[in-house]
Symmetry: C2
Subunit: 338 residues, 2 copies
DNA sequence: TTGTAAGCGTTATCAT
DNA sequence: ATGATAACGCTTACAA
């Protein structure tokens, strides 16, 4: 069995209270005593039991991170940054991959709460549904611990949101492409999560502000069963065959943009001369294709830093902004001409 | 404050022991009592405090997952699969991203142990150093809890390894390329982790078995400061300018292979006609480039399933194999001709 | 079948 | 500056 505070106190010939004080860096312990205790601790390699500690402190110093799929290239980065930041502030991360199923969110949420985490971070806008009922679990959680949401907005007490203004970023990118002369733009997306909706809104607003007529016919949603890049590319091909002509594609994420590039290659369409392509997230995928992909950077690292900063503030009782918004920036590469 | 087992016992007019029995599905509790208690629990939404539970049970039902960088495309997949599998067996995952710094492994290990996790999973072969001293922390951990290692081998009591036979996979792939007529092959790698060494060994063995002369001059290691794909491609270009001619590149992972493709494109070398390229991990990157990348699949999902199965066995006191090896398989795409 | 009570390893509040 | 001791919320013999 592991050593306990009693073992150490006996060996150091002090009380457990003193050992505890040494452990927690209390100022009122004589230097000699501290050293004696520390020596014993080092010698025997004692590490305090954090479950027991949690009972006393009423905090596990642990944050529950929920994300749909931590192997998704975007979510993985987010989880990584969060873990690093939390670690730096003395918190551990309990990871929960819920999948995209709506029901399971709820179950995972209550599971994670039973671990008595100090807060919950929802990573990705998939956690925000469109109906009130769907989002009830967030409210339930917020009754017990602070809830942080990355990449979506949800207004409620004890819920804090950090996000990128996807709508505006998409609006600006679309406008820029349009004003460079590409007036027929296809919008390519898969799911309508919170940020998915915002991006689509941004695209629509930009097109409408230019009085574009046919852009609604150029909005292409890949069905959920198109999981692979190849399948997406093929779907786009079929869609394009029946749709009006277009000179640009704006995709809701980089993977979709890669599929768009594949579509072009399969059909002998040259990029960027005949078709310009723009992605979202500025992930490593932008460097993997040829030509390299222009993409919108949503400042993920900045967002995660802000999130953890806000969280630490909340946990220490400070008043913190309930919504923090960053703006995305367009990273121009070779799939576009502007 | 949260409800406790006492609150429930009072409301249900039974003792806390009975509530506990209901909670833990003990068979010896009258159906009527069980229902009465369950109704109260449901009504008030009680969830047991797992720290307190951990103290009684001496188990947190939590597994510590250590990985260098959970945003790495390969490690992220591994973490995802592991979390899913563990969840299915009733275990939570405490994620720790250690970075590649050697010292920090040790600190994180002791930190994670203090959380009284039931086991530790080391994800990725970066956790195995070449010196005994470097690996001491693994031995220390194994004295307290089972240690599972994914993608590396380390022989010690209470340490269990699940891995892919990278050496053999690389040997076979190299041989296949060689025998297809490409006798001058460049090997492109970055770090020599455990599996990194094995892969290089496999390449060397294959070349030596064909009495290749100059392959040692065609082994190219990118320096640690070349982080981006572009930088890797440029480095390869400089290396190639001074090296013997070659008709194939075998890379230690897909990202390096993408860099090799970039190198070819920058220099007007056509793939696969003038140069064939082979990657490792069969990640999504293989679909992002043009032509699509031939790669070795190391059966990650199978490995993670086996790992969790072994772990569950160990935790339930069964005798389990200390080393489980799978073999990789070559997935042929368009960067190769054979 | 149910209840009582003794742990589990800490922290924190008192005294001293 | 240090030591007793009561929480903390649960599990689990042992009694009844």
């Amino acid at each position: 069995m592991s050593l306990t505070i009693y073992d150490i106190s006996k060996k150091a010939e002090v009380s457990i209270a003193t050992v505890s004080r040494v452990l927690n860096g209390s100022p009122k312990v004589k230097e000699a005593t501290r050293k004696k205790v520390m020596d014993i601790i080092d010698e025997y390699g004692y590490t305090p039991n954090s479950s027991a500690r949690a009972m006393g402190l009423k905090s596990m110093k642990t944050i529950g991170i929920m994300c749909a799929d931590s192997s998704d290239i975007f979510l993985a980065k987010a989880v990584y940054y969060l873990e690093q930041n939390l670690q730096a502030h003395g918190y551990e991360s309990l990871l929960c991959c819920t999948g995209y199923n709506a029901d399971s969110k709820k179950n995972y949420a209550s599971l994670i709460l039973s671990k008595k985490v100090d807060a919950i971070i929802l990573v990705g806008s998939h956690f925000i549904g469109s109906s009130e009922e769907e989002n009830q679990y967030i409210i339930d959680c917020s009754a017990k611990v602070p809830v942080m949401i990355l990449n979506a907005s949800f207004r409620h007490d004890n819920v804090y949101c950090i996000l990128c203004d996807d709508m505006n970023a998409m609006y600006r990118a679309t406008t820029e492409m349009y004003e460079s002369g590409i007036t027929d733009i296809l919008y390519f997306y898969d799911v309508l999560s919170y940020s998915g909706r915002k991006k689509l809104d941004g695209f629509r607003m930009a097109m409408q502000s230019h009085h574009s007529k046919k852009h609604e016919e150029l909005i292409c949603q890949v069905p959920a069963d198109c999981r692979s890049i190849d399948a997406m590319a093929d779907y786009l091909g079929k869609f394009a065959a029946k749709a009006p002509k277009f000179g640009g594609i704006i995709a809701a994420d980089d993977q979709l943009a890669i599929a768009a590039i594949k579509y072009a290659q399969k059909n002998g369409i040259s990029i960027p001369d005949e078709l310009q392509v723009l992605g979202y997230n500025n992930s490593i995928l932008t460097h993997c294709c040829t030509p390299e992909l222009t993409s919108i950077d949503s400042q993920l690292e900045t967002q995660t830093r802000a999130l953890v900063k806000t969280l630490i503030g909340v946990l220490s009782g400070q008043e913190m902004p309930q919504k923090t918004v960053f703006s995305g920036s367009l990273i121009k590469r070779s799939t576009t001409n502007f």
